[in-house]
């Protein structure tokens, strides 16, 4: 068994190396999350919920209490836990399909209610686990298994702007940001702030991370990186969209 260098303390060593595809962004996002958990010293308080889809592979990723749910329903499960046990730190981890398609109503309403949970959506602009179908986030003209001639925005709409939507509906106290696997330091910072915001009890915390799917994009490492760094930010602007004004420092 190879042990990854700098493996976060909160990672579960027995389940490493992990099973994400080479070049997939999930590993980087979960590393950033693991580091944030370590730095905040909250490993024993975290309840990590993962969705169906590729995010499912993270069900035994951490030495944190974890629950694998149904597609799109991770937000509600974590909400239910947090409501009953406010001393827990609830993390709902999902892909863009779970967050923006099948679970969209849950995302919207959790944001509206300012649930004190942290939602992380890993956006790789397609459904990875099921073989690369079009997602709400698929870029215009992009070819997928269900848009073999390229995504037609006339009939299938424009890529979903998750953080922008959430930022537009949340109240003061919420934290909304979009990071990218192309900038892991910033990614970790955003996730950490999102968790701090939950710990402070300020409000809903939401982070989208631009990620990759080399397997279904059928791209080599260079093209994959180029796509994440150059193409995706044309539609998905990286940065913090909503930060509580009253910071508890």
């Amino acid at each position: 068994m190879t042990v990854e260098l700098n493996m976060p303390k909160s990672w579960r060593q027995e389940t490493k190396p992990h099973k994400f595809c080479p070049g997939c962004g999930h590993g980087l996002v979960l590393k950033g999350l693991g580091q944030a958990i370590d730095e905040l010293g909250i490993q024993d308080k975290v309840v990590f919920g993962c969705d169906i889809g590729c995010s499912l592979l993270s069900w035994d990723f951490f030495n944190c209490d974890s629950v694998q749910t149904h597609h799109g329903r991770t937000g509600p499960v974590i909400t239910g836990i947090k409501r009953a046990r406010p001393d827990r730190i609830g993390i709902a981890y999902m892909g863009d399909g779970g967050g923006y398609a099948i679970g969209a109503q849950h995302l919207v309403n959790a944001a509206m209610r300012n649930e004190r949970i942290t939602v992380i959506v890993v956006n790789n602009v397609n459904y990875g686990m099921t073989g690369g179908q079009m997602a709400p986030t698929t870029l215009p003209g992009m070819k997928t298994e269900t848009s073999p001639y390229g995504r037609d925005i006339e009939t299938t709409g424009y890529p979903m702007q998750g953080p922008e939507m959430v930022a537009a509906i949340v109240r003061e106290g919420a934290y909304v940001a979009r990071g990218s696997m192309a900038n892991v330091r910033q990614l970790k910072t955003f996730i950490k702030r999102a968790l701090e915001n939950q710990i402070a009890g300020n409000g809903f915390s939401f982070v989208e991370i631009l990620s990759s799917c080399p397997t279904n994009w059928s791209m080599n490492a260079k093209d994959t990186w180029n796509f994440v760094e150059q193409e995706m930010p044309k539609f998905f602007k990286v940065g913090e969209l909503k930060v509580p004004t009253k910071k508890e420092e």
Binding site: P17, K19, F20, L56, M129, G131, T215
Partner: protein, 203 residues
């Protein structure tokens, strides 16, 4: 699988022989359950173990790091990359696939599949793909395959090859046709005889 096993027994081929399951198109037909069986026969098999594939089930298209770097291995390598445009694009993920002069891309065609069921459809299908170095006629209808169907397939594949200027490398046929077919499919292409593994290869 048959090609890899065949190579294993040829003295003019570099060893070891590595067989790679890179089919992300329709991974329900997969090497996973056959991995052990093929390893015992002497092949190096790069594929998931079913028990490792939590939740992947029939649809899981997740590849492994050792698949990405597989072309760096010594010996001879057989890659199953699935079919269609998506299949051909899978090579993009493989390190070194673009610049490897020894990489032969063989297009397996079956007149028995509706998508390539006529000369016109087969031609269109072949044209959509990236570079192809050779064609293999694998026309069959499973249990219902007949000699005449294999030969009809050979004819159509040959026509496609002529138009696209791609050589036909072989015709593939089940072992049971050896007596009737012999060494050639009637059009001069050698016949590669197959043992069918897939009936018990369900993820």
């Amino acid at each position: 699988m048959n090609r890899a096993l065949d190579l294993l027994h040829r003295s003019d081929v570099q060893k070891p022989i590595t067989l790679v399951d890179l089919d992300t198109v329709e991974p329900v037909y997969t090497l996973r359950p056959l991995r052990k069986e093929l390893t015992v026969l002497g092949l190096d098999v790069v594929a998931w173990e079913t028990s490792e594939t939590m939740g992947l089930g029939e649809a899981g298209s997740v590849i492994r790091p050792d698949m990405r770097w597989v072309l760096k291995r010594p010996g001879s390598i057989v890659l199953d990359i699935g079919y269609g445009v998506k299949g051909s694009k899978t090579l993009n993920i493989i390190e070194g696939a673009g610049e490897d002069p020894e990489l032969m891309i063989l297009l397996v065609l079956n007149l028995g599949r509706p998508l390539t069921g006529t000369y016109e459809d087969m031609l269109e299908y072949a044209r959509e793909l990236g570079p192809v170095h050779g064609l293999i006629n694998n026309s069959h209808l499973g249990e219902d395959t007949s000699l005449s169907f294999i030969q009809e397939g050979a004819l159509v594949v040959s026509k496609v090859g002529k138009v696209l200027h791609i050589p036909v490398v072989a015709t593939a046929a089940e072992e049971r046709f050896r007596g009737e077919l012999g060494l050639s499919d009637g059009l001069g292409h050698p016949v590669r005889y197959l043992k069918r593994f897939m009936p018990h290869a369900f993820w």
